[in-house]
Structure formats: C-alpha cells, structure tokens
Symmetry: C2
Subunit: 441 residues, 2 copies
C-alpha cells in the first residue's frame, strides 16, 4: 500500500494513531483552519524552534531539514534576524513614500542579473509574481496563450492555478493553457533540449489552431515539481528561441532554483546560457519573511505601467527588503553558492554510491543543492515507483530527516536543503537514506 | 489646474522642481524599479523612521499620518516589534509542520467573529485573499458572476483586477463582472439600502440575461475607494439578502474597515447586522508584516478543500502570526476600538464645524477613524470637486500632514489614521485643514 506523503487532519482514520500532543494540535487545526491545511508525513512533525539546517521539536528532538528552500541561508540566520529586528523597530511602510532600503536592496539584487534585466517589481509571494509576470507578458505580446510543463507548479492565484497542472484535476487548466512534457533527460536522452523545443513548437501551433497567440513559455529552470530535471545545462535555449520566434516571451520561474542554490550560478537560467524576459522570484528571497518579485527587461514594463496602476501594499516594504538584503549579504559572506556546488557534488556522489546497491534508485541528478533521486520499478523500463518514494519519505521522517517527493508520478525524492548544508549534514542524510532503503529491502 | 495626487518619478517635468536629495532617490527609483512605482504628492515624502502616528524625514521633520491603516496599532508599536523580534529568532516555517502560534492566533482571531464564521485560511495580501474568496465562492455556488461597486478596489491579481474597476480603463473588467453604483447616502438619501439592493438585483438579472449565475457580491462594508460611505448602518442588509436569494454568497472586504477601525464594532459587517459567508482580511492585520486571510463559514470551504489543493507557502508563517497576535493584543490592551469611536466622533464634529464656513465641504461622514470629507462645486447639485480635494491633499502635505483622496471622482478626502490617533492629533489635523482651506479661499 502506498503511504501518504501528507496527512489530512480532517481524516480521523489517519489521525487515530498519533501521539496525544500531536493529536491535540490536529484537533485545534481541524476546528479553526480550513480543511485545505494538510501536513507532511504519516506522523506529522511538531516544531518549536529552528536553527541552521535543524528544526527542533518540543522534547528537543532535532530534525535535519533536507527539504526547505525558504530558509535559504539557514533557519533563523542571525544576520537576517538582526536585519529584521532593526528594521521592524524603525520603519515599515509602503512604496508611495520614499525610503532608501527598497532601492539599496533592488540595486544589489539587480547586480546579480544580466544588465538587460534592469528593473524589479516587488510582491509578497511567488504566486503574486507569476500572476504579475503573465499579466505583463500578455500586455507586451498581445497574446494570451501560456505554455507550461506537464506537472508545473507556479502558484495559487486563480489565474496562476490555471497554468499549474500539478494542482491536479480539481483545478481545471485555462482554455489558453497548453502543457508539454517536461525535459526528462533520464527518460528522453541527451537530445532533450531539441525534444522539448519541439513540444513547445507544437503547443504554439495548437494555440494558433484555436485562434490564440502565445504570450509566454513559463518555465522552471530546473523543473522542480516535474521531478528535478537539471540537465544537460543549456537544454532550455532551443525552447526559449521557439517561444520568441512565435512572438511570446520567456518567463523563468526562479522561485525554487534561484538565489545560488544551483551552485554553478546565482540563477538557474544562467546554466542554460539564456536571458529571460521576465524572472519570477519567491520563496528563498526573504529567508521566510514574505518577499517576492518580478525582475524584468524594462521594455516589458513600460506599457503595462501606463495601463495597469499596479501597486502592492506590502510589496517592497522596508522589513521585507531588510530581510532580502541580509539574505544576499549572507550568500556572499558565507560563499553559499560555492557551498551549494561542493556539497551538492558530494551528495550526488554519495547517492550514486548508494544507487549501486539499490537498482530501484534509477537516477540521481541535480545541480548544486537541488537534487532528485528517481525511483523506478525497473531500471530498464524506468517505470516510476512512487510507492518506494512515499515509503522512503516516511521512513526518513522516522529517522528525523525531513524530505518530500516530486515528479508527475511522485517518484522523485526532492533534496533541497537550506544552503549552509554541510558535508557532515550530507553524511547524516546519506546514512539515513542507506538505512531506510535497506529496511525496505 | 488640478494638482496630481501622485507623482510619477518617470516624468522629468514633475521631478524637476524637487529638492536634490529627493531627486536623487527618484533617479535611483527610475533606474531600478518598474515604472509602475508612483509616489504620493507633488512633493514626495522621504521617510527614515516612524513611531505611533508619526513618520519622520531625514532632517527630523515629522509628518502626521492621517492616512495609513496598515500600521493599525501605530507605526513600530513596541509590542508588535517585540513579538516579531522574538519569533523571527525562534522559528519561521510553513503550515505543513505543526506549530502552536498559527493556531493560537487563528483561535484568537476567530473569537472576534460570529460563531458561524469558524474557519480561517491565511494568505499574505488582501489581493490573495480576494482572489481566494472568489475562487471559493465560485466553487460553492457553481456560479461565475461577480458584482462590485462602481469604483471598488479589491486587489491586483489578474482575477481580482477584473473586478476592481477603480484601476481604470487600462484594466478591463471581466465579462462575468457587473458594477453597481455605490450606496452614497449623501446623494441618494436615506433609502440607500433599498436603492443599492435594487441595483444588485438588476445586476443579477443582467448576468442571467448573459447566461451567467452570480457567485458573489463582493463588497466593502464602508465603501472605501467609492468615497467612504458608512451609513446609515444596516444599509447592506437588503443587498446581502438579494445576492443570497439568487444563489450567490456575500463576500465582505474588511481589508480597510476591519480590526476595530469603525469604532462601533471590530468588523464593518457587524454595523449592518449581517454575517457574511466569506470575509477578506488584509492590510492592518500584521501592522505592516505581510499577513492576510479569508474567514469563512466552514461549509464554504469543504468541497473547495477537496478539489483545489490550496497551499500558501508564507501564509500563516509564525512571524506573520506573531505580528497578527500582537496586533489583536494591542487593540484590546489599549482599547483602540473605543479610541476609534471617540476620536472619530471628535473628528467628525471638528470637520462639521469647519464645513460651516466652507460650503465646498459638502458632506462629512464616517464611522470611527474612517472618515470622508466630500468636496463639491455646489452644495445644492453636489457636483464632485476633485480639484479642491487634490489641492487640499498637497496643501496638507506642505503642512506635514499626510492624507489622500478617494471616490469615483477623487473628491473625497480619506481620513484613515492609525488607531492610536488622539484628540491632540485630531486638533493638529483640524487646524491644518482649516488653514489649508482658508489658503484656498
């Protein structure tokens, strides 16, 4: 039987076997939060504090965080804590007044982008950023069509959920949306870039057949929810050329790969040798303080600005900007991009060693600290094995190692820890993997 | 000539006459922020810190804040600062793990609502909340139509901007959206409740004529951007009955009136003797830390939860919840609802005294610390006089009093200070108003 990756506190059968303290919290959740609130793992994790790559339970149990990219520079990083603490006591308002920190932050953020990407607009969530980016893309192209990968997730606003197929059949795709298979080099081979571009071209043609012009290809640069598809580096370039040739723009969703995670570069698109038209930023940007944005070629925004009167009350507020600035400072000061590169390679090697003894671990791939472990029923057919991934996620949780799975079939372990993840942390994780796999036989 | 309420830093003609330090900040904004970023006032305000109802410039100039509802319990309130400072150093993660503060906060928040409104879902912005509320309304009703007032503003996501007519002609309304005149008792008389309900009924009939069923009437409970329309209390009840009779639900947008501002009640809908189906919360909720939500009758959410897989990464994070909890504690501890009631009445009286000598101030109205001053060209025809409001906004800014205007024509001063606004603060404001009006002759 496949085990659940998530528990719904509203299912009494699932809640019955849990410890009392956890059951009490579940009961409180059931009463006040909407039933959409689900929890990770068969046995949910109760946390009271966090530091670096560790989360702590009320009894002092510590959990190794191998999953969360929001606390990008480590949970409760003292430099971010200090920046937020200072700013929240000093000034927190909106961008209809002049203040320095939104500019200092925007300037520093933009130095990490190619010169063509010279403007930034701030929002509060990746969803708001995806929503804004597609509004901008539609305005500048005059098209409406949006192309995404088969199991993409770009956010939860009404408009964005229409092009987030990973939300499942309960959330219909928009009539202007086309989905294409993700560029899975493990199953499609090294020509995946040309194959992917071919799918994008057919999606463009299909939109045209329905009388629609394409506005944007919206794409992860490492295809997170499609199962962590990092390479070969450069494989996005032909698809980028295809969407532009058709009059659309390229929207790179850097919510997950961005902010130095991929080791080789600050931004995932750089690995592909391309410069997007619009870049969507989110999760790790403020280390947990809500902060997100859209980085853009200025020519994308000019006409939109005249028409749309876009204003985001909390977007670019001084406290969020202070957090964002501190994140960039920590990435630099602690050389976290290099750490992501080095520890990422170490993890890849370790996982590949493990894979030798476990043929169900069909593929290990990644860039920096964004790694997928692809489980299959058969290494020749490469048929996805979500049941193995789900068992492992729960087995690792019992070993106090927090992780989850992704992919169209849910068969890919998503290894995406905070960036200060060390070799020692990697050893703990690898040992837990080894043991959890051995347990499954 | 009408003076601008907002300056676009991208217009060199507007920027030419500004002080050097301000011009430098404008130049930096022009370079890095998108051209959507506008500033209040002919001469923008540069701020470096804030406290209570005051914002401070770099030279120590202090500005009385008569406008901002985001710092609801006062800028940089020490109790909120302390709560954020404590929590950001301890734990900041998402609701897929169990932690206490999201529940403690949700429980406390829900005690301020009628018992039927028993669930809350957290988001980061009012826009996300409006977006979610309408998705929920459509799911539960099976309808698509959305009815709003003529100059309503409910947010900036793609979906919400389609029912935010105040964004202007550059942002087309959705084909499923109908707008109705706002219930302006000053111009329509005391039967405004019946008149408003009549408009809603005609909008429902018009939707039906186009083959659409209504999903929701989305409405402010004091009609902020429509020009501050507070009464007579109870006037929303007939419209609420009308939308429900047609199978739609009532979505109350409490982003501006909520959190004790109206003095008589914690929530604006209570003044009308109604209980909405969904309530949208935002701006003041975290005193500036991004925090927003939707409060709902549980039966609204049940089916939506099964289908939509809604998850908001930053929604309900411990730091935002700590800020939200502290805001509720301060409202109680400092009796800010009573302060809003008492100082609101004092302000109304003071403004009505001023109005005796200035016939262009046609109407002064409000509830608690949400007051509109309606300027007209002629007190008999009540023709709106936006040019007077715009001149006043800039004249008050020169007196270091910060305010803005609203209404379909922009003729209504929007008086909406932080809740600790005192009688002494009111005196400063009233004196500045008297002087600015006298200056205009």
């Amino acid at each position: 039987m496949s085990r659940p990756l998530m528990v719904n506190a509203f299912d009494p059968a699932q809640a019955a076997e849990l410890p009392d303290a956890v059951a009490l919290l579940l009961e409180r959740r059931r009463r006040v939060l909407g039933p959409s609130y689900k929890l990770f793992y068969e046995e949910p994790v109760h946390v009271v504090r966090a530091e670096g790559v560790w989360l702590y339970g009320p009894d002092g149990t510590r959990y190794l965080d191998v999953y969360n990219n929001v606390p990008a520079v480590g949970h409760c990083h003292p430099h971010v804590v200090e920046a937020v603490t200072r700013q929240v006591a000093r000034l927190n308002t909106h961008t209809r007044y002049l203040y320095d920190i939104v500019l200092t932050y925007a300037e520093k953020l933009l130095t990490t982008f190619p010169a063509e990407l010279a403007n930034v607009m701030f929002t509060c969530t990746g969803s708001e950023s995806s929503d804004l980016a597609v509004r901008v893309a539609r305005n500048v192209t005059g098209g409406t069509g949006v192309i995404v990968t088969e199991n993409a997730y770009h956010g939860v606003t009404a408009a964005v959920s229409e092009f987030s197929p990973s939300l499942g059949p309960g959330v219909p795709l928009g009539p202007h949306v086309r989905v294409v298979p993700a560029p899975d080099a493990y199953r499609l081979g090294p020509d995946v870039g040309a194959i992917f571009a071919g799918h994008v071209e057919r999606a463009i043609a299909d939109l045209r057949r329905y009388g629609m012009r394409p506005a944007a290809l919206v794409t992860d640069t490492i295809f997170s929810s499609d199962g962590i598809l990092p390479g070969p580096a450069g494989f996005l370039a032909p698809a980028a050329a295809a969407i532009r040739a058709a009059g659309g723009v390229l929207v790179a969703d850097e919510v997950q790969p961005g902010f130095a995670r991929l080791g080789e570069a600050m931004w995932g698109f750089a690995r592909h040798g391309i410069t997007p038209d619009l870049v969507v930023l989110g999760k790790p940007m403020g280390n947990g303080i809500p902060l997100a944005g859209v980085v853009a070629r200025p020519e994308m925004l000019a006409d939109f600005a005249l028409k749309a009167r876009y204003f985001n009350t909390f977007g670019g507020n001084p406290v969020s900007c202070a957090a964002g600035l501190a994140v960039l400072e920590v990435i630099e000061a602690e050389d976290l991009q290099r750490n992501a590169l080095e520890v990422g390679r170490y993890l890849l090697d370790g996982l590949r060693n493990i894979a030798r003894n476990f043929p169900s671990l069909g593929d290990v791939r990644g860039a920096g600290l964004f790694i997928g472990a692809d489980f299959v029923r058969d290494p020749v057919t490469k048929e996805p094995a979500p049941e193995i991934a789900a068992r492992l996620v729960n087995a690792l949780r019992r070993r106090n190692v927090l992780i989850s799975a992704s992919g169209l079939e849910g068969n890919v372990l998503k290894i995406r820890p905070p960036l200060p993840f060390s070799r020692g942390d990697a050893d703990i994780f690898l040992e837990a993997m080894q043991s959890a796999l051995a347990e499954q036989g």
